[in-house]
């Protein structure tokens, strides 16, 4: 047998057994030591939280989703501006130009959304 395959087989066996051990221990603990006390509280979805009210599939304004998209413009912008600002003095002019192009693309998106009236809450 190829030693690589042997290693893989051992690895696979350990990977299967490893999660089974705590599961088996928990099961054994429950069977041997814990008293059986079934009740309504144990059936609730959040044992330690408040009782959930109403259905989970609530409809919400699709506007939130557009807002989130536009927010992403600022978010992504910041992520790229931060390292740029930190290294600003050591960067060549072309880097400045490249970032301005990037800003232009994002700003155009924002201006477009604004002009289309997406930012007005209806």
């Amino acid at each position: 047998m190829n030693p690589d395959h042997l290693l893989l087989t051992i690895f696979l066996a350990v990977a299967i057994v490893f999660p089974l051990i705590p599961l088996a221990m928990a099961w054994a603990w429950a069977r041997l030591f814990s008293p059986a006390k079934p009740g309504n509280d144990k059936q609730s979805s959040y044992e330690c939280g408040i009782e959930s009210a109403g259905p989970a599939h609530v409809q919400f304004q699709s506007h939130y989703y557009l807002y989130a998209l536009v927010f992403l413009v600022f978010d992504v912008e910041t992520v790229f501006l931060m390292p740029f600002a930190a290294a600003f003095l050591n960067l060549p002019f072309s880097a400045f130009l490249a970032l301005m192009v990037f800003l232009l693309l994002l700003v155009e998106g924002l201006v477009w959304a604004w002009a289309k009236g997406i930012l007005a809450w209806k």
Binding site: S94, L105, E108, V111, W112, A115, K116
Partner: protein, 487 residues
């Protein structure tokens, strides 16, 4: 730096044009002709940049690679994008008109970038840039159920294929240690099982893009449901870019692991996978097209079949097989764009694209019917139109490996089947009478363009060397002669 900017000038100009068009859409949303003119102007500026600034070279370690063949394909894709713009300008609704044209431009930029790179990362980014605008555009007629369905299906299946592709590319990178295609091909030797998995996943990702069986399920629904102008771009520009980059990856990057699919000469590699997909596409595409009642759906199945023919060309190790594949994909794109243009006009006139809507087309608009005849006969591969020469070159190039004869015989037999469904469309257009008299639709630009495309199909049929000679002359040596290692 300056050279890089010059090499990317066509794409930059197109992006700039798209931004201007978006701005126009906000400031003067009603000025349709102005918006269309600005879009076309941007396209012409980009075309001028391709023609007048021939900066060839390899920039940023293969991220951007421009050579004569890449420039030719950028021009072809740009042309197909502008064809879609004209069709859209005649058929798209008033609402979000500028945005739709800007999206076509963005998609075209992605396809153009795709032809000019030899790096896996750039290939993936360009592919996404080409795909995402097309997802949006496919769902653009969002009031209609079928368009929303087309958009969603295209998006979900496209994302799935992107995941396959990304996983495959990452495995290839993991095994070979590089994302650069020429460097990847230097990693020869016994193929690693991991590398084989990577190659197969990459092939699956691209098979979605070119709609090869068994990854073809999205094509009929998207072609039928998407606005017809968008379907023309999906069928032409997207196909050209997809086939071009697939050929490049296979020939330059994965050449050492080709294998062979010859009858009795089976060798493991990507060629047998490709050959099986080609055979399945040719059979399923042509047989399923027989029973379609919608012309767009019929063209979708014909696209699947043509994807199969193209894959046959990629299976061959012949010296000019790639020239033949690239020639065929260009002429197929021209022809199918023209056929979709005919559908755009008929849809505008009769409100649908089923076979019955083509009844009596020869009476109401004889020139349009004649153009349709040229396109469909060319797709069926009958001389004197260019489709015949394309198939002829493709199949002779494939026969450079005589053991591929089984695949070629299958393709030719299935091609005979295809004649039947093309003729059914022509029967509706030329023989059957129209149920009601309708005046011709007012779409002068599309009509002109369809006629021009029909003329180009005819001209290339009479003188295929116009396109074939420059293609063969400029084919880079590392593409035309694939390294073949037989272990």
């Amino acid at each position: 730096m300056t050279n890089l900017l010059l090499a990317l000038a066509p794409e930059s100009l197109l992006v700039l044009a798209a931004l201007v068009v978006l701005g126009l859409g906000v400031s003067v949303p009603k000025a349709r002709s102005l918006i269309t003119a600005a879009t076309l102007l941007g396209g012409f500026a980009a075309a001028a940049a391709i023609l007048l600034l021939p900066v060839d070279g390899n920039f940023l370690h293969g991220m951007v690679v421009v050579d004569p063949v890449a420039r030719m394909f950028k021009l072809v894709i740009l042309g197909l994008g502008l064809v879609a713009v004209v069709f859209a300008s005649d058929s798209f609704p008033e609402i979000h008109f500028a945005e739709s044209l800007a999206l076509i431009l963005f998609g075209t930029v992605g396809m153009m970038l795709l032809t000019g790179t030899e790096d896996l990362l750039m290939i993936f980014i360009a592919l996404e840039l080409a795909s995402i605008p097309l997802y949006i555009l496919a769902a653009f007629a969002k009031e209609g159920r079928s368009s929303a369905e087309a958009g969603l299906k295209y998006f979900l299946i496209g994302s799935l294929s992107a995941a396959f592709l990304l996983y495959g590319l990452s495995l290839i990178y993991g095994v070979t240690g590089s994302t650069n295609l020429p460097i990847i091909s230097n990693h020869s030797g016994i193929p690693d099982p991991l590398l084989i998995a990577g190659i197969v996943l990459t092939l699956a990702g691209f098979a979605f893009k070119v709609a090869a069986v068994p990854f073809q399920l999205w094509a009929p629904d998207v072609y039928e449901g998407a606005p017809t102008a968008v379907a023309s771009l999906v069928a032409s520009g997207s196909k050209v870019a997809g086939v071009f980059i697939l050929a490049k990856i296979l020939a330059i990057g994965l050449g050492p692991w080709a294998g062979s699919a010859g009858w009795g000469q089976f060798l493991p590699g990507w060629v047998p996978v490709l050959a099986l997909m080609a055979a399945a596409s040719v059979i399923l595409g042509n047989l399923a097209a027989l029973v379609q009642s919608n012309v767009k759906r019929l063209l979708a199945y014909s696209a699947i079949a043509h994807g199969g023919y193209l894959l046959i060309g990629l299976c061959s190790t012949g010296e000019d097989s790639l020239t033949a594949v690239l020639f065929y994909v260009v002429i197929y794109a021209l022809t199918t764009a023209g056929a979709f243009g005919t559908v755009v006009i008929v849809e505008k006139q009769r409100g649908g694209s089923s076979l019955e809507d083509f009844d009596g087309l020869a009476k109401s608009s004889p020139v349009l019917a004649l153009c349709l005849l040229v396109f469909l006969i060319s797709l069926a591969g009958i001389p004197p139109f260019v489709g015949f020469f394309g198939k002829f070159y493709l199949f002779t190039a494939a026969l450079a490996n005589p053991a591929l004869l089984w695949l070629v015989i299958l393709a030719i037999a299935m091609n005979a089947v295809s004649l039947y469904y093309y003729l059914i469309v022509l029967k509706h257009a030329f023989v059957l009478p129209a149920k009601e008299d309708l005046r011709p639709a007012n779409a002068p630009a599309s009509r002109f363009l369809v006629a021009a495309l029909a003329l180009s199909v005819l001209a290339l049929g009479l003188a295929p060397n116009l396109l074939l000679a420059p293609l063969a002359k400029n084919m880079p040596p590392q593409i035309s002669a694939r390294k073949v290692f037989l272990q």
